[in-house]
Each structure stands twice: as C-alpha cells, then as structure tokens.
Symmetry: C2
Subunit: 424 residues, 2 copies
C-alpha cells in the first residue's frame, strides 16, 4: 500500500486543444482525485500529435507517478494515443478478444460495416487491465510499470465518467489505501461565504470526515467525505458532523444526495401526494422546464402557464385589471394573484408564480433584477421580493435562474409544510 | 511584422486545477488564437504556487514565443501570478497610477474599506502595456522582452473575455500581420457530417476565406474567416464563398451572425410584426424559456402553455377528448390541435406545439424519443415527426433540446413564409 501519490491529467485531442470542446473531463477527474487524496499539480492539453504527446508523457512522468489521459482512442487515423502510449512503455498492441467480440456485436446490431480502422479499437497494450466501455466503442486501460501508472480513458464525457467511477476509482482507492464515502448536502437561500463563516470552526476541525464547499449559481453544496473501511463505519463517522451542520445551517439545507432543487421539489410533491402548477412571467417557462427536467415529474406537475403579456395574465390567470393598473405587473399583488390563478385553473394544490424584470431595460419604471415570487395553497401563502443586482452580460440569465430557484424552493417548502399542518 | 507565432495558454489557479471551476477560458482563447492564425500546441493548468508557476513559464517559453496566462490576479495572499511573472522577466512591480485611481474610486463608490491587499492590484510590472478591466478590479498587462510576449489576464471569464477581445486581439493582429473578419453561419436540420460532405470540395479549396465547422447539439455552425486589410475587402473575399454555401446548403441556413435559433426566430417575428404562442408537453416550457432568453421577446411572445396532463390539454387548449382517446397525447393529431388551440387562446398569429416522449420510459406504448412538433397559422400548417434515438443518461435532455429546436425552427420558417405569401 503506497501513500502520497501524485497524478497529472493529460487531455489529448486537437478539438480540445483548439477550443472546439470545453475541457469538462479535466475538472471532473481533478475533483475526484482531490477526494481520493491524490495530489495533483498539473493539467495539460495536447493535440493528436505523437511527437508532442510522447514529450508530454515524459514530462508528466517526470513530475508525477500517476498519469491519467483522456481522448485519442477513436477509430480514425489521427487517434494515436494508444499507439504512442504503448510505445512509451515499450509494449506492443495486441488484439483483446473480449473487446473485439463486443465491437463485432455492436456493428452487427447497428447494421453498419466494420472497417479495419474500427478493428483498431480492440487492440490494447499487452499486459494491461482493460476497462470495458458500456457507453461507446473505445475501451480504456491501465498500464503499470516501473512504479508508474497510466490510465487511458476515452474523450467523450459520457463514456469517460462512468469508466472513471467504475474502474479508476477502485484502483486508486487500493493504491492510496483510501476508501471514501461522501454525502452531498445542498443549501438554498444562503451564500457560500455566509455558510462558511457559520461552519468555519467545524470545517477546520474536521479531518475525517472532511467538509468542502462548492458554489453553484445561487446555491451552495457541501461535500462531507469520510475515509473508512466500509459504509457503516463511514456513516458513524459522518453522523455527528451532519448533526452539527444541521444545527448550524439546517434551515437552508434542502436535500442530501439529491441532484438539485427541482428534484428535491418533485420528490417532496410525490411523497406528499401533491400537485403543483406554475405561472411565469419573466422566467418565461424556466420553472416549468426545470420541474419537467426531472423524470417522473408528470405525476406531480399539472401545468405551467407562461403569461408574458398583461392580457394573458388577465385572460388565463384572472389577475384583476385593477391590480395590474394600480400596482403593475411587477408587484407582490400581481404575483399573489398569478399564483392563486394558476392554482384555480389547474386544480393543483400548490400554485407558484414569478413576475419581475430580468432586464436588460427598466420596465414599468421598475429596476432590473426586481422579481416577485409567490406561492399559493390552502395552508401556506407567501410572496418573496428579490432584488438581484447584477449588470453584466449574463445578468438576464442569472436573474432568471435565481428567480426560478426561488420558485422551486417555495414549492418544496410549501409541500414540506403540508405534513406539518396535518400533524398539528 | 513577424509571422508563424506559436502560443501557449497557461491557466493559473488552484480552483481550476482542483476542478472546482471548469476551464472555459482555455477554450475561448484557443478558438480565438486559431482564428488569428497563431499556432497552439499546449494548454496547461497550474495552481497558485510560485515555484511550479515559474517552472511552467520556463517550459512554456521553451516551446512558444507567446504565453497567455489567466488567473491569479486577485487581491488575496495566494494570488501570486503578477509577482512570479514580473520576477521571471526580472522586472519590479510599480504602482500604476491610473489603475490605483480607478481602484480608489471603486472602493469609494461601494463604500467598502480598501486594504493593503487591495492596493496590490494596482501594482504592475514596469514597462508593460496595462489592460484596463472595466468588469473587475484586476487589470491585465502585456510584457514584451527578448522576443517573448506574455499576456496576463484575469481569471473570471466575464472579465477575461472582454479584455482579450479589446486588448489582446489587436496586439496579436499586429504581431501576425493578420486582420481577420469572420461570419458565423448557422444551420438547422442537417448534421455536421452531411453538411461537410456537401461542402467538402469548397472547404478544401478555400484558403482565404477559410471555412470551419463547429457542431452544437442538433445544429451546425460554419465560420467563414477572411484575412483582409479592411472590412470591405473581407466582404469581397467572402461573397463568392457565401453564394456557393447558400447554393449547396441554403435551405438549412437559418442565420448569419445571429446568436442562436431563438434569436433568429424572435428577430423574424419582430421583422414581420407577428406574434407567437407555444403549447408544450414533453419539452415542459423549454421552448418558451428559449424564446424568452432573447431580450425583447416580450414584443412578439404572447404566451406559453405547458400542458403536461391530458386534462390541461383539453381544458386550456381544447384538444378534443376524442383525439386524445383515439390517437393518444403523443400523436400528430394532438400536436396539431395543441398548436391550433394555443393560437386561439392567445390570439397570436403563429401557434407552435410539442408533444412526445422524452423518456426514460415508454408512454402510451410510444417509444422514447418519438416527438411531434406542429405549427399552426393562417398561411402555413405543418406537423413534424421526430424519432430521436438515444438511450444514455443525457437522452432526456437531448430529446427535449432537439424537440425545442425544431419548434423554434418552425416558428422561424412560418414567420419567414408570411412575407412570401403576401408577395404572391
């Protein structure tokens, strides 16, 4: 069992080098390495060029003992990662029969002709561990030699990520003597720095588990990671930390190991047997889009009305002309009537609405970033006023996103309260 | 005037190295360098560590004559790019008065106290060209020495990009004797490989302008780039190529230098004085979300109804119970009635609808990926059937995206036809 490994990420491919693809692979792998306790000091990108790839490999292994490559495993002439890497280790490429059989089956199934080029994908460096690729035709592999370890992974993220999780993580866990278990805690309504200052002492004191914050637009995620023999031990290690986090910031915690706010909201609606409906103005359908991102949302989502014009607010949602006249479309009053209106139209137990100014220009004399979000139900009604101050080119997108997150959070909160009311 | 420059991109920052931030800066700069005709063979990422940064700089300048760095210009203790780079060139950091004045004004305006650390941001390497940063507090700069050129840019993309465009591009244009003008041509309804095979000969023959394809989900963009003295000469060089592209693939070309399909659709609606309304089932608001992404869409977008349940399709859109019974919600007939229904409800001239199965499970016995998109207007009605076969974890997102693109394309196409009808 070795400790203190250090790794480098080497992404291979002219498309990444030239900027036609954003390198999300490097970020993914880097994060996972940090969790595994493997040091990482360099990431590099090089094109599909054997000479430069060879030099990059030599450089990487002069600085680290683990090199993880992505890309260059395709069937075409310019995909040369495997050849170059095998040559670096002085190994031949040999036909890997299981991969070849899988490849043949794939071409038979899709009715396409298999060329010599395609066959190349089933040739792997001799004496390596082959990583099966259930999401593509290029297997990956691990080569170990002279204290060096190289992991070769395909370029497309939807092939690379599952392969990393399934094959690379266990190898690295064994190598580092680490077995990691983590929980992702999602917070809404509190900024990263406020959350950090609340939890600073706890974060600094905790070594196993560790606590690391990750900011997302308008949200914060905390990852709590324990190094343990097994799941049960990890749970025991994490328990007191989770209690403490809950005590200090529980009111903002919306879910653990849940994908996102919309998933949390849809799950809560399912759990309570409730339905929601949305009425949107400035978010233009983003709230309903996010709800329906969640598969299974059709069980709990009744309908979404995007009423951009005042006329539609009156006709479809029965917002009163007087309210629109007196307070304007961007007002707490209109938001409340929209939420009540969509609830009535749809028959859903929870109606939520968004109205505001996402910019770029003032509207009704109301500033950019002023948004009202309302929820209506028999047991809970609420209107939130947001003043989202941002003026750069992404302001519109940001304002709409944060507004939609607030609407989803109101659905979640209101659905949660439903049980509480019955309890009383 | 030198030619044949080669550059490296060196992104500095522990957050990028550790994968907490995806490196979009490298992709942006790489693309721009390609357009400028500057060779790029390596991208690297290194943390906020002066020793490793120094080594990375030495390595980069051993392989290239231009190095572009991003990041590490912040006010905190661990932001050391400027110090390390200045030391590499044997230069002192000196107070740059205009930057200092700007910084003072910023702190005065925001009412925050300016610390010694903040003041650090106004110190720049002596004898450099300072890049003003209108979007942040960290200026960038250009250092030239011994045939080497270093451009130092801030890390946040919304500060880096405008600085690159405003300061770096003109310097590199001068350096390479290149002045580039490009047009982006956007295509919908044709795959990248089909478009390439149609245009292969033209693409291979063209050297000035060059033609380069970029694939986006369900779309293709071609960038036509001319190297010319001025805009007029560029236009003259591009004209015959544009005519030829139009001849060979014009039916799929939806816009030139337009941001995306939704912008093209909204602009066309504005131009024709028409209004659109949407009725969505499986896309769940994505079409209306994309339309309202475009600022100014409120002028042309009447409303969007997201009718997930059959009851809502009947109540809000007057889809007949018989149609739903006989053909199902996922059918050409229902799509057509939804489009007609939302047009009636909203009073918009163009109604568009989407209904289908985005997965993950079969619905009504209809396969995942079967989607109907319909448009309804006085002058044009159409229903499209899509069979989007994809089964990986991103399938739902892909199906919804491509379906929404088809809806936007139908709006665009129908609005375009409006004029044609009047002409006749």
């Amino acid at each position: 069992m070795k400790q203190n490994h250090s790794a480098e990420i080497l992404c291979i491919g002219t498309e990444i080098l030239m900027g036609n693809i954003v390198n999300t692979n490097a970020a993914y792998i880097a994060k996972e390495l940090a969790v595994l306790g493997v040091n990482l000091y360099h990431q590099s990108v090089v094109g599909d060029n054997p000479v430069r790839l060879r030099k990059s490999l030599e450089l990487a292994f002069s600085r680290a003992d683990i090199v993880i490559t992505t890309g260059g495993l395709g069937p075409t002439y310019d995909d040369l990662s495997k050849e170059t890497i095998a040559a670096y280790f002085g190994r031949k490429l040999v036909l890997h029969q299981p991969s070849y059989n899988k490849l043949c089956a794939y071409f038979q199934r899709t009715g396409r002709e298999m060329t010599e080029n395609n066959k190349k994908q089933a040739f792997m460096p001799e004496n390596c561990i082959v990583f099966d690729n259930p999401n593509g035709t290029a297997p990956g592999c691990c080569i170990q030699q002279d204290g060096k370890m190289l992991m070769m992974l395909p370029g497309p993220p939807r092939e690379m990520k599952p392969m990393f999780d399934h094959w690379v993580v266990p190898i690295l866990e064994k190598e580092t003597g680490t077995r990691l278990f983590s929980k992702n805690l999602y917070f809404f309504g509190i900024g990263e720095s406020s959350l950090e200052s609340r939890l600073r002492e706890l974060m600094e004191q905790s070594t196993n588990p560790t606590i690391a914050p990750y900011a997302k637009t308008g949200e914060v995620m905390l990852r709590v990671t324990a190094n343990a023999e097994n799941k049960e031990q990890a749970e025991r290690l994490m328990a007191p930390v989770l209690v403490e986090i809950n005590r200090q910031a529980g009111e903002f915690l919306y879910g653990i190991d849940v994908d996102d706010l919309q998933t949390a909201a849809v799950r809560m609606l399912c759990e309570k047997g409730l339905h929601a409906a949305t009425a949107e103005s400035c978010t233009g359908g983003l709230v309903s889009k996010r709800i329906t991102d969640v598969s299974g949302s059709s069980e709990v989502f009744e309908c979404g009305l995007c009423t951009y014009s005042n006329r539609m607010k009156e006709n479809l949602l029965s917002v009163s002309a007087q309210t629109l006249e007196q307070y304007g479309a961007i007002s707490a009053q209109t938001a409340a009537e929209m939420a009540a209106g969509v609830r009535r139209v749809s028959g859903a137990e929870i109606g939520v609405s968004v109205t505001g100014n996402a910019g770029p220009n003032a509207s009704e004399g109301k500033e950019v970033g002023l948004v009202y979000v309302a929820v209506d139900s028999d047991w809970h009604k609420e209107v939130i006023e947001l003043r989202l101050r941002r003026t750069d080119e992404d302001a519109r997108e940001y304002i709409r996103w944060v507004a939609s997150s607030n609407a989803l959070n109101l659905i979640l909160k209101t659905a949660k309260k439903f049980q509480k009311t019955l309890d009383k």
